[in-house]
Point group: C2
Chain length 315, copies 2
């Protein structure tokens, strides 16, 4: 019989967390004490995100490595969205005692793998029993002298620009829900998003006036920017050309691919507003910021309200 | 019918989280954006803790206010244990959609109440669905120029000193497990610990060489200090006089009160080692640091190994 998490034990897992852990760089004290200590130059940026089994992932649809990677990616994307530099993460893992120890260890490997991709360090965490697997990740970063980019700074005349993918994760979820496993690129996008690491700090440097990462869908998340900034946003549907796997999935189920692009969540692309002429290379202009129209501070598509589904709710 | 959490909705709860939230002090950006921004002078201290329904609390034994308070207390205690000054917390709440909205709102009130007691601000968080209630709290603090107090600095000749209560929470849990509700002080200690806020930074200022907060029990947690420091620790049982409710509970069930004092977890008292003559007022000397004896780096009681139960495991 293979080992369970209960047999590996809390301290066994924490030992693994400590193993191969280098302090250094901004990390003064890493895992293994009561708290971690990190050098931060002036302003600490922090965000907490959760991945819950049966809500955000299913064990038959995502492996432990992907779940670990996704938990880090979604939290670090929030630091990027402030225009800050991510530095470190803390991880809370709660799981049933009869979970195979290999699942927990592979999940830890996934956490580490995404930390390496995002250039952050795993500095601490907590392990607990629970009936279902629950990951809580707090990401920490610093502003490095840049002003944080909030949701509230979008200004009439700004351009709206995108860095990353739209609708891929939602298309992948549809594929899995229907019992299929391809297109593989869409399924992988659901299993683990690929936030454009480094693009947040770049956007801040180029003068982004507002920014958000796309967790609930383009319309839903840009809606937060519109309301916080007191502006209207008009998206150009021609600039939102869906990626190949999104088109394939939409066609297979007889839906408009634009639905995925506008309403699909969990891709954790970054969308930002920039003064005209300041959009950095690698960002695609997808719309513009306008004065508030008769519909209030909202997001339009080609000048009209979008009538399809917009984002999803967690309850 | 009263409202459920699903009816209140994720954004309804987040609105409540944002309400009455003052920025100011160290908080540049509080709840409501992708991430919070906090002024930190040089070194950020961070720790994540979890409270899981059915593992750390039961809804029939603890009310939502106590659960919220405890979630903040256990996380902030870790910042205290580094000798740092707590500043802020992030909260992840996962709960079933059919949870009464009043439970979630009262829990939020408890979180705020303990934040006020600990002089920290609630700067952000995340809300998710889940089958059982799960709270994850990340506490953030700063070192204010003090060296962090680690577990590894205890030195032969140091005195071991305690600030806070021992065995009260464990006694309260025994009371509840047997279907009783008194002594009330013990039950309350289980429902919500009372860490000695401010004592951690004070200990650092007085030159504490090692410190830990007591989550798993005095023997278990001092065992971490002994191993990390490569020393022996000898506790004086006469200095560990159990509090009145601990004695009452021990007597009622025919156990030695010292068992609760040595092995009971979750009181989140602070225990620290100080050079002789440097123990601050308000701390009780309970033992001394000695050279490693034949039993290795371990904790003795009156010069002998303790034969009772020592601490508890989470799985």
């Amino acid at each position: 019989m293979s080992q369970t998490l209960a047999e590996l034990g809390e301290f066994g897992l924490i030992e693994r967390l400590r193993a191969d852990q280098e302090n250094g760089g901004p990390v003064w004290i890493g895992p293994g004490d009561d708290a971690a200590v990190l050098s931060i130059d002036g302003r600490a940026v922090s965000a907490l995100d959760q991945l819950v089994e049966g809500v955000h992932f299913r064990r038959d649809w995502s492996g432990p490595v992907e779940v670990g990677r996704k938990a880090v990616a979604v939290a670090v994307a929030d630091i990027e969205a402030m225009g800050a530099r991510p530095l470190a993460v803390l991880v809370g893992l709660a799981a049933p005692g009869d979970l195979p120890a290999s699942w927990a260890l592979d999940c830890l490997a996934g956490l580490r793998q995404e930390c390496a991709t995002a250039s952050v360090q795993l500095i601490g965490g907590d392990v607990s029993a629970a009936e279902r697997i629950h990951l809580a990740v707090t990401a920490l970063g610093e502003t490095r002298g840049q002003e944080p980019v909030q949701r509230s700074g979008a200004t009439v005349g700004d351009l709206v620009a995108l860095r990353g993918r739209l609708g891929w994760a939602a298309a992948g979820l549809v594929v899995l829900t229907r019992g299929f496993r391809s297109p593989r690129a869409a399924v992988q996008a659901h299993q683990c998003p690929t936030p454009p690491y480094g693009a947040g700090a770049e956007a801040a440097m180029f003068g982004a006036t507002a920014m958000i990462d796309l967790s609930d869908g383009l319309l839903a998340d840009l809606g937060h920017v519109a309301r916080a900034s007191g502006v209207g946003i008009d998206l150009d549907s021609r600039a939102l050309g869906p990626g190949e796997p999104v088109r394939a999935v939409a066609q297979a189920i007889g839906r408009d691919p634009l639905e995925f692009v506008l309403s699909g969540g969990e891709d954790h692309a970054l969308v930002a507003t920039f003064p005209f002429g300041q959009v950095p290379q690698g960002w695609d202009v997808i719309g513009r910021v306008e004065a508030v129209g008769p519909l209030g501070p909202t997001v339009l598509v080609d000048g009209r309200a979008w009538s399809g589904p917009a984002g999803w709710t967690h309850f």
